[in-house]
Symmetry: C2
Subunit: 343 residues, 2 copies
């Protein structure tokens, strides 16, 4: 089969790799219907994370189950499934508590135990603990939104949940990538009265508004802080979603939070120093992390299938898998918010 491999910074290829095979009783083999490129895939792409040349990449996909192991109970061949961005066993105490990303037997895609998501097929262990099947085969038009439940929509949701967004809140979202935009959608759906999106890009501002943002702040740093204080009568936000993961974005997140607020963070931290003194003086909390999207798929899938949310709008570039390298380039250059790949 063909699957995406990374060889060096900026060197993404579609390669011939061995066909995967079921080899354990809890395995599933999934034919990928659509996959996508994640903001976190750009870290190795840009050489900011270590690369093992030739390794598989990609961890967001939806597809059709081709084959299952003898012990798999919740999905069957022919099912359309959503695959959360990590594989979890579904049975350990952390999975049962809804924190599947801390699974005792966590498996990453593109590893010896699970194929990368940006390919034609993915074999993975723990099918029951990982995959969620739709009640029936979804319409083609639903596929982009269902694909976002694999990562970005669930991650934006986790940012809002971690920040403890509640009805009536004023929420600031730092970051206008696909996760930040999903965070806007999540905050609005949780009943936030005001959602202030920090965004400098016109197309993203537009989508933020479509997703429920009531205000756009295009400033950064100290000016962003002033703009948010101006908008909130000097008080700051009840909840802040930090959807980037850099030192600057985290600083801005804390700067705009009112005392008692929580910063919900979901961007992989790179060069972040947590301002513990400011947290102490102002009672601003920090919560979040690698989103347990598996916990959110059922609820969000129902919302997508009912047409209540349409997070698939974050995809603004749809490419055949053969053009995966162009997809990375488009995301890297910020020409695309989020790229969908069709094998």
């Amino acid at each position: 089969m063909r699957a995406t491999t990374i060889h060096a910074p900026y060197d993404i290829q579609l390669s011939d790799v061995p066909d995967p095979k079921i080899d354990g009783p809890t395995d599933a083999l999934v034919r990928v219907v659509a996959s996508c490129i994640c903001g976190s895939d750009l870290w190795p792409y840009r050489g900011e994370n270590k690369i093992k040349p030739g390794s598989r990449i990609g961890h967001e996909f939806v597809g059709i189950v081709e084959e299952i192991g003898a012990d798999v109970r919740t999905v069957k061949p022919g099912d359309f499934v959503i695959a959360p961005f990590v594989v979890s066993d579904g049975t350990c105490p952390h999975c049962r508590a809804g924190f599947q990303t801390a699974c005792d037997n966590l498996v990453g895609y593109g590893s010896s135990r699970a194929d990368g998501g940006q390919g034609e097929y993915v074999k993975l262990p723990y099918a029951d603990g990982t995959l969620v099947a739709t009640p029936e085969l979804p319409d083609e038009a639903m596929i982009p939104s269902l694909l976002t439940l694999s990562d970005v929509m669930g991650t934006g949701w986790h940012a809002a949940r971690s920040a403890r967004v509640k009805a009536g809140d004023t929420v600031v979202v730092v970051g206008d990538g696909a996760v930040g935009l999903s965070g806007v959608l999540a905050a609005a759906r949780m009943g936030a009265e005001r959602v202030i999106a920090l965004s400098r890009h016109e197309s993203r501002q537009k989508l933020a508004v479509e997703f429920g943002a009531t205000d756009i702040v295009s400033e950064r740093g100290e000016e962003a802080r002033e703009a948010v204080l101006e908008l909130t009568g000097g008080v700051g936000a009840d909840a802040v979603l930090e959807c980037v993961g850099t030192g600057q974005s985290m600083e801005t997140a804390f700067d705009v939070a009112r005392p008692g607020a929580t910063v919900g963070f979901v961007g992989v931290p790179h060069g972040v120093e947590v301002p513990i003194g400011k947290m102490f003086r102002r009672n601003v909390g920090l919560a979040g992390g690698m989103a347990p999207v598996r916990a959110y798929v059922p609820e969000l899938m129902d919302a997508v299938l009912a047409g209540e949310i349409n997070p698939g709008k974050v995809f603004d570039l749809d490419l055949p898998l053969a053009e995966v390298a162009d997809g990375y380039k488009a995301m890297h250059e910020r020409r695309a918010i989020k790229v969908m790949l069709r094998p």
Copy 2:
């Protein structure tokens, strides 16, 4: 009048200072009935915080209102009052939201606007926003417990609230000082099923058990982590109260937290580096800060006056104010958990 002053590391004196006078419409003048020494008073005492020689010290006291300004409405001369450890106006957005320690007009004791608490009298601004009167003059026996509401009991309560302790939880309390012990009491009162106190001192262990601890762990560092994992079937704690504020105590707090848990922190951070990578991977949150004890006084006062909690047991040394220097020495040498001073 006489009031405690600090002149250099380890140099605490009882000095003659000018009698305070009401000079604003929201002021109150309180005759101190009992005050105490705080763990945070030991930072300047040990020279770890900067000292302005001759400055006043102390921020925890209860007393009788002597005189009020023209606009004071909620307390009157003759009332017995509990004074939270900072002065807050009670009217700004942060006070109204219950985060009085982030008051827009915050005033510290021992400053130009409010006397130090370890003295005979204290003049403070914002009487209505700060002081809470008991319904009637309390019995002498209630005074120690009421005095803890000025700081340590409210701070332990804040640690538990920030850590989001709920009924049935397994809670770890890091720190066996007066705040940590109050945290044990708070967690037990909030319905924690299991309260694991980290303590190496026999007298403190005993009080922890009296306050509701179900398990004592006397190990530190990596061994403490192993002991807690052993006690929790390898899972970790649902909530962790960090009641010290050092790098080591914070590290231990994160080490014993299960994924999805929150570390509630209330110790003034000294040399703390927040393990953001571990927080991300394990979804462990951090919340808390300078406790808004003013928000908790009414509820905790009722519990004290009803005899439901007796946090005053943290006082194990009761000295006349004239012996304040000995009190500091006893706390510094850990011969006393908490020292009460009677003018």
